[in-house]
């Protein structure tokens, strides 16, 4: 029962820390996870996305040199994850972000410690939020609950 969501990140060779890249330096999640606010899927950053910033020596931290060398050798698309929703489910990541749902509402804040997955999404939890039964304090507008809003 239920479709539990366990994103399978391929732990690439690139050492990465969410805590260093998040709010502390004024970066939005969508800056790297492009599409998170704009399109149906939230994507992983490509090497080019990393290099936008990392082509300059950014800090004086001792690790930065090894990081830069690893990055230089890395794949064009160093990270990937599996879309765990079934084919017949339409989930538009951007529309949820646009509706004011914060990233941590669904994904928690575990990723700041670089622990991924563990979110449990099933139809019941979708429906509950869409009906306005959960996240009452956030004051989301009730969303569509007819089948064809999310299924095809």
């Amino acid at each position: 029962m239920g479709e539990s969501c366990v994103p399978e990140h391929t732990p690439g060779p690139i050492p990465f820390d969410h805590a260093l890249h998040g709010d502390s330096i004024g970066l939005d999640c969508a800056a790297c996870h492009t599409g998170a606010r704009a399109s149906a899927n939230a994507y992983m950053p490509s090497k080019a996305d990393c290099m936008d910033c990392h082509r300059l020596p950014l800090t004086e931290n001792p690790g930065i040199e090894t990081l830069d060398s690893v990055l230089a050798k890395a794949d064009d698309r160093p990270w990937s994850h599996k879309r765990i929703l079934p084919e017949h489910v339409v989930f538009h990541h951007g529309v949820h972000a646009a509706a004011g749902v914060a990233c941590s509402d669904c994904h928690g804040s575990n990723h700041m410690q670089n622990r991924y997955g563990g979110e449990k999404f099933d139809m019941q939890s979708c429906l509950k939020c869409h009906r306005g039964e959960t996240f009452k304090e956030k004051g989301f507008k009730p969303a569509a609950t007819y089948c064809a809003a999310c299924h095809r």
Binding site: M1, R37, D49, S80, L85, P86, D122, Y146
Partner: protein, 597 residues
């Protein structure tokens, strides 16, 4: 005798089993499918067997409720045949489904996904009615068997009979609504409930008469009723003919004309003759259902698989029914007194004659009338037993309706009371029966069960719980195999302002800020401060060169050629103008503010 019948059943059943397995594997294209309704043999067989399943409860319960006496063994045979018929009536709608694994979605329970069956559908009513009918028939049969040992239980039979009386009619009414509620022109018929009930009663009677013949005796009352039923059914067929100009000749011959031979005493008195009437009626009614279910000229013909399915049900019925009969004969103490091996045939007949006389000529009635027979309303024994459980049942039905209405699934559905009514009585009946059982268990001191019965009860309960659990949990769906990495480049089409804004926020705002000023936190710490956004600069550079800058990069600005399409870049340039305009509008008051400082 039973052994030979069982062997006959087995020889029919085994090839039938193959047909069933093939049908399940192959799906609905295995058998003849009607080109318009997509239905076929399994549904005909379902209607046929559910009709036969009326024999037991009809005869036993209704006769009991109406004080028409029927001897115990006939009643028990009838009840047993109901149970066995129900098994086959249940198999066919299940196996005819396209996706059998999803059958649980028909049950009107909430499932873990928050879905709910469409209670407007006659199929949902069907499912509930048949499930409840099977449960209560089992209970009725069990109580009947048990009441021999524990006389205290006997007084529960009549209340149960009164509970089953409407239910048995309800079931077939609902089956008829499967057809009558549709737009298929051949199934036009607000009279279908009566029509189907009449057909069911006739087929039930024919089956019981046939089984009684196998037992080696006869009940004249049932034979007469059977004959009368054929007349009524013929009258209904005539109305069908008047209404639609459609007439099933073969059914009329088999179930309408041939049974009239009963009026010839030579045939009537011969056992083979009696078997012939019953078989002829059964064949006729099967043909009738067959033509009813597949109204348009079939694009395929009645094939081997269809025959196999018929053989499966007939053989299976024989195997199961006579198997149980044999088992009971052997393993139950005093089976004779249940199933009448010790009664002489003549004795039974004489008895029967007497009953009939009493029932129909009103001798008994006149006697009672003379005695000043009168009963206060709502004062009968069965009513007193049934009173409280019925109340619970009605309360449950009302609660169920309210619950159904509150389901969010029906937010976009015009749900009316007519959609829910057919579900109510089965709920009333099942809850009432359950309450009755619980009550009987606690009230009757003499009631205790053998170990085997207790195990049976526990197993049944566990099975029921497992069923409910499965219905609730539902199946799992296959997850997508799609792997997402970085965002692929989109199609190069003109983008709207809104889309450009989204792209800006995702790609540019890290440095340039969502409002076109800098993202202070980021830029101050790490990065060279980007150029200021103002209209004059934008105008002097021109859109084309700005697009080039975005795509190819310049100085500290990164190249986005592989990640943005030229159109997207152009959209960004346009959006930059909007941002610059907004900035210049806001600049004036801000410069004043700075001046104040």
């Amino acid at each position: 005798m039973f052994r030979y019948l069982m062997i006959l059943g087995l020889t029919l059943f085994l090839p039938g089993l193959y047909a069933l397995g093939y049908s399940v594997y192959q799906g609905p294209s295995a058998w003849m499918v009607d080109s318009q309704t997509f239905w076929g043999t399994p549904i005909s067989l379902f209607v046929f067997w559910i009709g036969l399943a009326h024999a037991g409860t009809l005869l036993s319960a209704i006769f009991l409720a109406l004080d028409i006496k029927l001897d115990r063994r006939t009643a028990l045979i009838a009840e047993l045949s109901t149970l066995v018929s129900l098994v086959f009536a249940g198999i066919f709608p299940l196996m005819h489904l396209g996706v059998i694994d999803n059958f649980y979605m028909v049950a009107p329970f909430l499932d873990a996904r928050g879905n709910f069956a469409n209670v407007r559908s006659p199929l949902v009513w069907d499912f509930c009615c048949i499930a409840v009918y099977a449960l209560l028939s089992l209970l009725f049969f069990g109580v009947h068997l048990k009441s021999r040992e524990i006389p205290a239980l006997d007084k529960y039979r009549k209340p149960l009979a009164w509970l089953l009386f409407p239910l048995v009619l309800w079931v077939h009414t609902i089956v008829s609504l499967d057809f009558a509620a549709t737009f298929v022109p051949q199934w036009r018929g607000a009279f279908f409930p009566v029509y189907f009930i009449a057909g069911a009663i006739l087929s039930g009677l024919a089956l019981v008469n046939l089984l009684i013949c196998a037992e080696g005796y006869r009940v004249r009352l049932l034979e007469r009723l059977q004959l009368i039923c054929t007349w009524i059914l013929c009258a209904i067929w005539i109305w069908d003919l008047i209404l639609k100009g459609y007439f099933c000749t073969s059914a009329f011959i088999f179930a309408g004309v041939l049974p009239q031979l009963r009026m010839v005493s030579v045939i009537r008195e011969h056992r083979l003759g009696r078997i012939f009437f019953s078989v002829s009626i059964l064949v006729g009614l099967f043909l009738e259902r067959y033509y009813l279910v597949s109204p348009t000229a079939a694009s395929a013909t009645f094939g081997r698989i269809d025959l196999g399915l018929v053989a499966f049900s007939v053989g299976g019925f024989m195997l199961l029914f006579f198997g149980i009969r044999r088992y009971l004969n052997r393993n139950m103490e005093g089976a004779g007194s249940y199933f009448g091996e010790v009664d002489g045939t003549d004795l039974a007949e004489a008895e029967q004659e007497e009953f009939e006389k009493e029932n129909f000529t009103g001798v008994r009635g006149i006697q009672k009338l003379r005695k000043g027979f009168y009963m206060q309303p709502w004062s009968s024994e069965e009513y007193r037993i049934l009173r409280f459980p019925l109340l619970v049942g009605f309360a449950a039905a009302v609660l169920f309706s309210v619950w159904v209405w509150s389901q969010s699934v029906f937010a976009n559905v015009d749900l009316s009371i007519a959609n829910v009514i057919p579900l109510l009585y089965p709920i009333v009946a099942v809850v009432t029966a359950f309450t009755l059982c619980v009550r009987a268990y606690f009230v009757e001191k003499s009631f205790d069960m053998t170990r085997r019965e207790k195990t049976l009860c526990v197993v049944l309960l566990v099975l029921a719980a497992a069923c409910l659990g499965t219905f609730f949990a539902g199946g799992s769906s296959e997850k997508s195999a799609k792997v997402l990495d970085s965002q692929p480049i989109g199609v190069d089409t003109p983008v709207s302002q809104n889309h450009a804004r989204l792209v800006w926020n995702a790609r540019c705002a890290t440095c340039h800020g969502t409002d076109g000023r800098f993202n202070e936190k980021f830029v101050r710490e790490f990065y060279p401060v980007p150029q200021k956004l103002d209209l004059q600069r934008l105008d002097s550079l021109g859109a084309d060169s700005l697009v080039k800058v975005i795509l190819n990069g310049r100085n500290n600005m990164n190249a986005y050629a592989g990640r943005l399409t030229p159109e997207e870049a152009l959209g960004l340039v346009n959006y930059m103008r909007t941002l610059a305009e907004m900035l210049s509008e806001n600049a004036a008051p801000e410069s004043v503010k700075e001046g104040e400082k």
